[in-house]
Subunit: 585 residues, 2 copies
C-alpha cells in the first residue's frame, strides 16, 4: 500500500507537473508588438497608394490584417505623440506641451529639462503586472535626464537613443546623442554609431531589426509574454539606410529607408510565424506624425541667421548649424553645412543636397492629405495603420473606425486582459471590438498645438478652431510646411481664430481640406452643433498637466550619461542656466 | 463490306463532326474587354489609396491581376484620349487637336464639325478581320456627324451617346444629346433618358452594365470572340448614380457613381467567370484623363458673362449656361443654373450645389499628383490601370512599365494575334511582354495640349517644355485646375516656355512635381540629354494630321439624328455658319 501510495503521490506529482507544464504551454497572454515609424506619412505604403509600391512586407501585413485608413497621431510632432502612445492620454494631460507661446509645437531636444512625469502610468509598467517582459528598441523621446530613463518607466530592456539622431556635434558646445543598451550608454551617434550624412549610410536599422529578433526569440524561449516597442527612426531626417538598401528605391534615400524598414518588418513577422507565436501576438504598425514635407527655399538660406527663436548657447563655429532646431522643420532646408574637423564623415554638403545645390526631397508622402508634420491638417496627423493578429483579426479587412495612437495603450491592455487606470482620464479606446467584431465607435479626434485645441474631427466632419502653419517670417525665409499646397484662408501664416465660426470640412468628399462647408448650410450647422457639444464636454473636464517642455538648459544635455565613465566618454557640462525654451512654430 | 464501309463513313463523319465541334470549342482568339472610365483619377480606387476604400471589385480585380501605377492617358481631355485609345496614335497624328490657339485643349462638343477621319484604322475594324464582334457601350466622343458613327468605324453594336451628357437644353438654341442603339437614336438625355440634376439620379450605369452582360452572353452563345469597349460616364460631371447607390458613399455623389461602376464591373467579371471564359478574356481598366479638380470661386460666378471664348450662338435665356463650354472645366463651378420650363427635373441648383450656396466637390482624386484634367501635370494624365486575365497575367503583380492608353490598341491586336498597321506611325506598345513576362520597355510619354508638346516623361524623369494651367483671366474668375496646389513657376497662368531649359522633375522622389532639379546638377544634364534626343527623334518624324477640332457650326448639332423621324424627335437646324471654335485653355 505504501508503495502504491508512493506511486500515487508520484503520479500526482506527474499530473501536477504536467499541469504546470500545461500552464506554461497553454495560451499565455498574447504578445504585443508595436511598430512605430518616425515621420512616415499616410501615403508612404504601397497599400496606401504610394506609386512606387516598395513596401511588399507591409502590404502583405495589411492583406493578412486590418487596415485603418482613418487613424491619427496624437500630435503633429514626435515627443508628444510618443508620450500619448505610452500613456493613452493626450499630451495636454501628460504635460507634453509648452505654454511658452500660443499654439506652439514642442518636443524633447537635449536641452529640454522636462520629460515623462513619474505620475504617469506607462504601458510597460502596467503590462509588467501581467507578467510581460518589455523592451524598447529605438527612439525614446520622452526625456533624456536620468529620472526619465525608460527602464525607470516599466521597460526591462532598451537599445536605442533618448533623442533624435541629429549631429554630428563637436562635443564642446553640444554633445553627440548617446546610444543606450539598457541602463547605460554604449556610444554616441556619429562616433561609435556612424551615420554618413553625405552617402546616407548607417547600419542602425539592421541593428534594430536584430534587437527585435533576439528579444522575441529570448522571450519565446523563456516562455514569457512580451511587449516590444519598435521605434525605428531611419525615415526621420537625416534619413539613412544600410549599404544594401542605399540606392535601391525609386524614391531616393527616403525610399531606401522605407525599404529597409519594410524588409525588417517582414523578417520580424516571419520569425513570429516560424516560432508558431503569430496567432498569439498582437501587432500594430503606425507612425508618430505625418511626413515632414520639404521646405524648398528659392535660394540657399543660411539658417544661422535665418532661424528665429533659436536657443541660447549657439553651437560653436564649425558645427552643423542646421541642428539648432533640428526637429522643427529646418532640417530639410538646403543650407551651408560644415562639419567638425575631427568628424569621420567628411562632407561639405548637408543630407539631401543635390550636386547643383538644389534641395533634394528627403521626406515622405501624406497621400491626398493637406500639409505635413508640424500642422494640424490631415497631412500632419493622419497615419498609416495596420493591425495584424493572424487567426484573431480577420484578414484583408478595412476598418473605418476613427483611431488614435492613444488607442494602442488601451487596446494593448485589453489584449493583455488588463483594465486601463481608473484614476485619471484616458483618451485611448479599446479597438478590439473594431478589430474583432467590426464595430464602429463614435469618438472625437483632437488636434492640439501646445495647449491650443486647433481642430476636432467627429465622424466625417473636421472643424478647425484655429489655423496656422508657420509665421510669415519663417515662411518668407523659405520654411514651408505645406509646399505646393497653400490654400487661401486655410493654410494661414498668421494664427487665425475661428472658434466662433469654425472652418468645417467633410473629410469623405474633401480629404484634402480644400473646400470649407458653407456656414449657411444645414450641413454646416448640424456638424457644428455636434462638434461643439463634444468640445464643451472635453474642455469642461480637462485638467492640463504641468507643462514639461517650457524650460531649457544647456547643462542638462547628454554630457555624461550613465556608463560614460567606462567608455571614457564623459563630457564637462556648462554652467546651469535655465531659460524659457523658444518654440518658433 | 458495304455495311462496314457505311459504318466507317459514319464513323468518319463522327470524327469530323467531333473535330468540327472541337474547332468551335477549341481556344478561339481571346475576348477583349476595355473598361474606360470618364474623368476618374489615379487616386479614386482603394487599391490606389483612396481613403474610403469603396471599390472592392476593382481592388479584387487588381489582386487577381496586374496594377500599372505608371500608366498614362494620351491627352488631359476626353475626346483626344479616346481617339488615341482606338487608333493607337497620338491625337496630333489623328487630327484630334486644334490649331486655333497655342496649346489649347479641344474636344467634341456637338457644335464641332470634325471627328475621326476615315483614314484612321480603329481597333474594332482590325479585330473584325480576326472574326471579332465589337460593341461600344457608352460615350463615343469621336465625332457625332453621320460619317463619324461608330458603326461606320468597325463597331457592330452601340448603346450610348456621341457626346457628353450635358443638359438639359431647350431643343431650340441647342438640342439635347441623343442616345443611340446601333444606327439610330432611341431618345435623348433629360427626355427618354432622365438625369435629375438636383438629386443626381439616373439609371444609365445600370443600363450600361446590362448592355455589357447581354453582349457577353450573346457572343458567348454564338461562340464568337468579342471586343467590348465599355465607356461609362457617370463620374463625368454632372455626376449621377441610380437610386440604390445615391448616398451610399462616404465621398458624396462622385463616390456614389464610383461605387455603382465598381459594382457593375464586379458583375461583369463574375459573369466571365461563371461562363468559364475568364481565362480567355483580356480585361483592362483605365480612365480617359485625370480627375477634374474642382474650381472653387470665392463668390458665385455668372459664367454667362465670365466665360471667355464662348461659342457663337448663346443658349437662350432659361437654359443651363453652365454648358456653354461644359467639358472645359466650367462645369464644376458654382453658378446660377436655370432650367427650361418643360424640364422634368425641377431644380434651381446645379449639381453639387450646397444648400448654402457653397461649391460642393463632385470631382475625383488624383492621389499625390499635381493638378488634374486639362493640365499636363501628372494629375491630368496619370491614370489608374489594371490588367486582368486569369491564368495568363499573374495575380497580385505591379508593373512599373510606363504605359499609355494607346498601348491598349497594340496590346489588344497582339492578344488577337494581329499586327498593328505598318503604313503609319503607331505610338502604342504591345504590353504583353510586360504583363506576361514582367519585362520593362523603355519608351517616352508625350504630353500635348493641342499641337504643342508640353512635356515628356522618360524613365523617372519628366521634362516640361511649356507650363500652363489656364489664363489669369480665367483664374481670376475662379477657374482653377490646381485648387490648393499652386506652385510658383510650375502651375503658371501665363504660357511659360522652357524649351531651352526644361523644368525637370524626378517622378520617383517627387511625384507631386514640386521640386525641379537644379539645372546645374549632373542629374539634370543627364536627364536633359536623354530626353532631348527622344524629342528630336519624335519631332523629326512627326506628321501632324489635319486638325479636326478647329471648325464649329451650330448647324451640325444633334438636331435630327438618324431615327429621329420614327420617334417624332427631329428638330430644325439653324442656318449653317461655320466658325473657328474658340478654346479658352
Amino acid at each position: 500500500m505504501a508503495a502504491v501510495a508512493a506511486a500515487t503521490r508520484w503520479q500526482l506529482l506527474l499530473v501536477l507537473s504536467a499541469a504546470g507544464l500545461g500552464v506554461t504551454l497553454a495560451p499565455q497572454p498574447p504578445n504585443i508588438l508595436l511598430l512605430l515609424m518616425d515621420d512616415m506619412g499616410w501615403g508612404d505604403l504601397g497599400v496606401y497608394g504610394e506609386p512606387s509600391r516598395e513596401t511588399p512586407n507591409l502590404d502583405q501585413m495589411a492583406a493578412e490584417g486590418m487596415l485603418f485608413p482613418n487613424f491619427y497621431a496624437a500630435n503633429p510632432l514626435c515627443s508628444p505623440s510618443r508620450a500619448a502612445l505610452l500613456t493613452g492620454r493626450l499630451p495636454i494631460r501628460t504635460g507634453f506641451y509648452t505654454s511658452n507661446g500660443h499654439a506652439r509645437n514642442a518636443y524633447t531636444p537635449q536641452e529640454v529639462v522636462g520629460g515623462i512625469p513619474d505620475s504617469e502610468h506607462l504601458l510597460p509598467e502596467l503590462l509588467r503586472t501581467a507578467g510581460y517582459a518589455s523592451k524598447i528598441v529605438g527612439k525614446w523621446h520622452l526625456g533624456h535626464r536620468p529620472q526619465f530613463h525608460p527602464l525607470k518607466h516599466g521597460f526591462d530592456e532598451w537599445f536605442g537613443s533618448p533623442n533624435c539622431h541629429f549631429g554630428p556635434y563637436d562635443n564642446k558646445a553640444r554633445p553627440n546623442i548617446p546610444v543606450y543598451r539598457d541602463w547605460e550608454m554604449v556610444g554616441r551617434y556619429y562616433e561609435e554609431f556612424p551615420i554618413n550624412l553625405r552617402t546616407g549610410e548607417a547600419n542602425l536599422t539592421q541593428i534594430y531589426v536584430q534587437e527585435a529578433l533576439d528579444f522575441i526569440k529570448g522571450q519565446q524561449a523563456a516562455r514569457r509574454p512580451f511587449f516590444l516597442y519598435w521605434a525605428v527612426d531611419a525615415t526621420h531626417a537625416p534619413v539613412y539606410a544600410s549599404r544594401p538598401f542605399l540606392g535601391s528605391s525609386q524614391r531616393g534615400r527616403y525610399g531606401d529607408a522605407v525599404r529597409e524598414i519594410d524588409a525588417g518588418i517582414g523578417r520580424v513577422l516571419r520569425l513570429l510565424q516560424d516560432l508558431g507565436v503569430a496567432e498569439n501576438t498582437f501587432v500594430f504598425f503606425t507612425s508618430d506624425n505625418g511626413a515632414a514635407l520639404i521646405s524648398a527655399p528659392k535660394q540657399g538660406l543660411d539658417l544661422t541667421t535665418a532661424a528665429p527663436g533659436h536657443l541660447p548657447g549657439e553651437p560653436s563655429p564649425g558645427v552643423v548649424n542646421l541642428n539648432l532646431r533640428p526637429d522643427s522643420g529646418w532640417s530639410f532646408i538646403s543650407t551651408t553645412v560644415s562639419v567638425p574637423q575631427n568628424s569621420s564623415s567628411p562632407t561639405s554638403d548637408g543630407p539631401g543636397r543635390e550636386p547643383g545645390g538644389q534641395t533634394c526631397p528627403e521626406g515622405g508622402s501624406n497621400g491626398p492629405f493637406l500639409c505635413g508634420k508640424q500642422t494640424t491638417f490631415e497631412g500632419g496627423m493622419r497615419e498609416p495603420a495596420i493591425a495584424w493578429w493572424p487567426g484573431r483579426i480577420p484578414a484583408g479587412q478595412v476598418s473605418h473606425q476613427l483611431g488614435s495612437i492613444m488607442d494602442l495603450f488601451t487596446t494593448s491592455l485589453s489584449v493583455a486582459g488588463l483594465e486601463p487606470p481608473s484614476d485619471r482620464a484616458i483618451d485611448g479606446l479599446d479597438l478590439l471590438p473594431a478589430m474583432l467584431q467590426g464595430r464602429l465607435m463614435d469618438r472625437p479626434i483632437f488636434y492640439y498645438r501646445g495647449n491650443t485645441l486647433m481642430a476636432v474631427t467627429l465622424g466625417q466632419y473636421k472643424a478647425h478652431f484655429w489655423t496656422w502653419t508657420n509665421s510669415w517670417e519663417e515662411f518668407r525665409q523659405g520654411v514651408d510646411f505645406c509646399p505646393g499646397q497653400n490654400i487661401s484662408g486655410v493654410t494661414t501664416h498668421t494664427q487665425e481664430e475661428h472658434t466662433k465660426l469654425p472652418l468645417i470640412f467633410h473629410l469623405g468628399r474633401d480629404p484634402g481640406e480644400r473646400y470649407p462647408l458653407s456656414v449657411a448650410s444645414t450641413e454646416y450647422l448640424d456638424a457644428l452643433h455636434r462638434i461643439t457639444s463634444v468640445v464643451q464636454q472635453h474642455q469642461e473636464t480637462l485638467v492640463p498637466g504641468q507643462p514639461q517642455l517650457n524650460v531649457c538648459n544647456q547643462a542638462v544635455m547628454n554630457w555624461a550619461p550613465p556608463g560614460c565613465e567606462k567608455l571614457g566618454k564623459c563630457l564637462e557640462p556648462p554652467e546651469s542656466v535655465p531659460e524659457k525654451c523658444s518654440w518658433p512654430h
